[in-house]
C-alpha cells in the first residue's frame, strides 16, 4: 500500500514531465530532448531564490516563472528558425540545447551536487506520516492530480485548448480556422515548461539536491512514459507516467531492485512490440 502510494507519487512526477514531451510532440511535431533540463533549471531557480528570500513560496513562483520564460525562449531562438527543416536537424538542435543548458549550469554552479537549502522542508502531517506515507509523497500525489485535472479541463473546455487539439490533429486545417500556429506552439512550450517546473519542485521534495544533470534521468524516463502512453496523447502521458512510477517503486521494493532501470525500458520495447502507437496512441494518417 505504501509502495503503491510512493509509486503513484513518483508516477505523477513522471506524468507531469511526460505531458511536456507529448504536448510539444503533438503540436510542434518535434521531440524536445532539452525538456528534462528545464526541470534542472527549475531546481536551481528554487535553490537560488531560497538562498535569497528563505521563502519556499517565492522559490516555487520563481521556478515556474523562469522555466516558463525559458521554454518560450528556447522555442523562439532554437526551434522556430528550423520550422520546416528536417526532423533530424531539429532533433540534433534539441540535444544541443540540452547540452548547452547543462553546460551553463555547470559553469555557474559547478558540477557537484548542491543542497537546495534548509528552508526547503515540508511540515510533518501526523495523520499520514504515522501510516508510513511521507508528506512529500502525499503532497506530490495530491498536487499532481490537481494539476492534471486542471490541464485536462483547460485543453477540453477552453478556446485555446481546442485550438491546441486542432493544431495537433491538422495544422493546415487549424490555420484555415484562423488559428495562429506560432502562438499556439509558444503557449504549448510555456505550459510544458511550467509543468516541468512543478516536476522539479516535487523532485526536490524527494531528493533535496541540485546538480547539472538532475533532469537527465527523470527526463528520459518521462519520455519513455510518453512513448508508452502513445506520444501526442495527453491521457497517454498521464497513464504512462503513473505506470512507470508504480513499476519503479515496486521493483525497488523487491529482489529485482538492481534491474529497475532495465525493467522500465524493457517495458517500452514490450509495449511497442504489441502496440506500436503506444497504449492510448492513435494511428494518424499522413496529410499533405
Amino acid at each position: 500500500m505504501i509502495t503503491l502510494i510512493d509509486g503513484l507519487s513518483l508516477g505523477s512526477i513522471y506524468a507531469l514531465i511526460a505531458l511536456g514531451y507529448t504536448m510539444v510532440y503533438g503540436i510542434a511535431k518535434m521531440l524536445n530532448f532539452a525538456h528534462g533540463d528545464i526541470i534542472m533549471v527549475g531546481a536551481y531557480a528554487i535553490m537560488v531564490t531560497l538562498a535569497a528570500t528563505v521563502s519556499p513560496i517565492a522559490a516555487i513562483v520563481a521556478a515556474i516563472v523562469i522555466c516558463t520564460i525559458l521554454g518560450i525562449l528556447v522555442e523562439k531562438l532554437a526551434y522556430k528558425p528550423l520550422r520546416g527543416a528536417s526532423p533530424l536537424a531539429v532533433l540534433i538542435t534539441a540535444i544541443g540545447v540540452s547540452y548547452f543548458l547543462q553546460g551553463l549550469a555547470q559553469l555557474v554552479f559547478g558540477s557537484q551536487p548542491k543542497p537546495v537549502g534548509s528552508a526547503w522542508k515540508l511540515p510533518a502531517i501526523e495523520a499520514i506520516n504515522s501510516l508510513g506515507i511521507t508528506t512529500a509523497a502525499a503532497v506530490t500525489l495530491v498536487c499532481g492530480i490537481i494539476i492534471m485535472i486542471a490541464l485536462t479541463l483547460f485543453i477540453n473546455c477552453t478556446r485555446t485548448g481546442s485550438a491546441m487539439l486542432a493544431v495537433s490533429e491538422d495544422r493546415g486545417a487549424a490555420i484555415l480556422m484562423g488559428v495562429n500556429v506560432n502562438k499556439i506552439i509558444s503557449i504549448t512550450f510555456a505550459i510544458g515548461s511550467a509543468l516541468a517546473a512543478f516536476a522539479g519542485m516535487f523532485y526536490l521534495f524527494q531528493i533535496p539536491n541540485t546538480e547539472p544533470t538532475l533532469g537527465a534521468m527523470p527526463g528520459i524516463t518521462a519520455f519513455t512514459a510518453a512513448v508508452i502512453g502513445g506520444i501526442g496523447s495527453i491521457p497517454g502521458a498521464m497513464v504512462g507516467g503513473v505506470l512507470l512510477g508504480v513499476i519503479e517503486k515496486f521493483c525497488l521494493a523487491s529482489p529485482l531492485a538492481p534491474y529497475t532501470v532495465a525493467i522500465k525500458f524493457s517495458l517500452l520495447i514490450l509495449i511497442l512490440l504489441v502496440k506500436p502507437t503506444g497504449l492510448l496512441g492513435k494511428v494518424v494518417r499522413e496529410k499533405v
Partner: protein, 236 residues
C-alpha cells in the same frame, strides 16, 4: 470593384511551376466555378488565394487590398473561409467543437450562437449529431460539417475545394442544393470542382484551368452548352 481579384499569379513547388500567370475575379454575390482535370492546379490556386501558399509573382486583392503576403490565419479574420479538399474536419473532436473552431476568430458569444443556429438550419443533420465525434460521420456529413464550420466565421467569401469528391450522386445533389441555397442568401462562393456539370449548373461564371493556366472563361450556362467543354469535361 470585384470582391476578389487574382492578378497574374505564379505559384511554384520548389523548382516546379504549378500555376503560370492566372488571373480571375469574383464579384459580390457570385458563384464562380474553377473547373479542370486532376492536376490542373485548382487546389494550388485556392491555397494561394487563402494564403496557405504564397505566389512567386502576382497579387491577390481582397476588397482591393493585396493579401498575398499576409499569413493565412489573418486572412480568415478578414472574412475569407476555405473549405479544403478532402474536408479535413477535426476527426477526434465532436461536431459542435468543430463548429466552434470555425468561429475561432470571433468573440461575440451571442452572434456565434445565432450563427450556429443558422448553420443548423442549413444542415439539420449536424444538429442531430452535434455531440458525435466527427471521425465517425459519413463522407457526406463530413462535407456538411466542413461547410458549416466555414460558415461559422461569418465569411464574406467562401472557397470550396471539390465538395462533391467521393460522394454518391444523391449526396452530391444534396450538397449542391445547399450551395444554391447559400447563393440565394447572398453568399459569394469560389467553387473548385472536377464535377464540371454540377459546378456549371450552379455557377454564374466559370474559368477552365488546364495545366496551370486558364484555358477558357465565360458565362457558366453558356459553357454548359459549349461543344469543346462538353467533349473535354462533360463526357458528352
Amino acid at each position: 470593384m470585384a470582391m476578389l481579384e487574382v492578378k497574374n499569379i505564379e505559384v511554384c513547388y520548389g523548382m516546379i511551376r504549378a500555376i503560370k500567370d492566372i488571373s480571375f475575379e469574383i464579384n459580390k454575390g457570385e458563384i464562380v466555378a474553377l473547373i479542370g482535370a486532376n492536376g490542373a492546379g485548382k487546389t494550388t490556386t485556392l491555397h494561394t488565394v487563402s494564403g496557405l501558399l504564397k505566389p512567386t509573382a502576382g497579387q491577390v486583392l481582397f476588397d482591393g487590398k493585396d493579401i498575398s503576403k499576409i499569413p493565412a490565419h489573418r486572412i480568415v479574420t478578414m472574412g475569407m473561409a476555405h473549405v479544403p479538399e478532402g474536408r479535413r474536419v477535426f476527426q477526434q473532436l465532436s461536431v459542435l467543437d468543430n463548429l466552434k473552431l470555425g468561429a475561432y476568430t470571433r468573440t461575440d458569444k451571442k452572434e456565434i450562437a445565432e450563427n450556429l443556429k443558422k448553420v443548423y438550419d442549413h444542415f439539420p443533420r449536424l444538429a442531430e449529431r452535434k455531440h458525435q465525434i466527427a471521425g465517425t460521420l459519413s463522407g457526406g456529413e463530413q462535407q456538411m460539417l466542413a461547410m458549416g464550420r466555414a460558415l461559422m466565421s461569418n465569411p464574406d467569401i467562401i472557397l470550396m475545394d471539390e465538395p462533391s469528391m467521393g460522394l454518391s450522386p444523391l449526396l452530391v445533389k444534396e450538397i449542391f442544393a445547399i450551395i444554391e441555397e447559400l447563393h440565394k442568401s447572398g453568399a459569394t462562393i469560389l467553387l473548385v470542382e472536377q464535377n464540371a456539370k454540377m459546378a456549371l449548373s450552379v455557377a454564374d461564371r466559370a474559368y477552365v484551368l488546364e495545366t496551370g493556366s486558364i484555358a477558357m472563361s465565360g458565362d457558366a450556362k453558356e459553357m454548359l452548352n459549349n461543344d469543346d467543354i462538353k467533349k473535354a469535361y462533360l463526357g458528352q
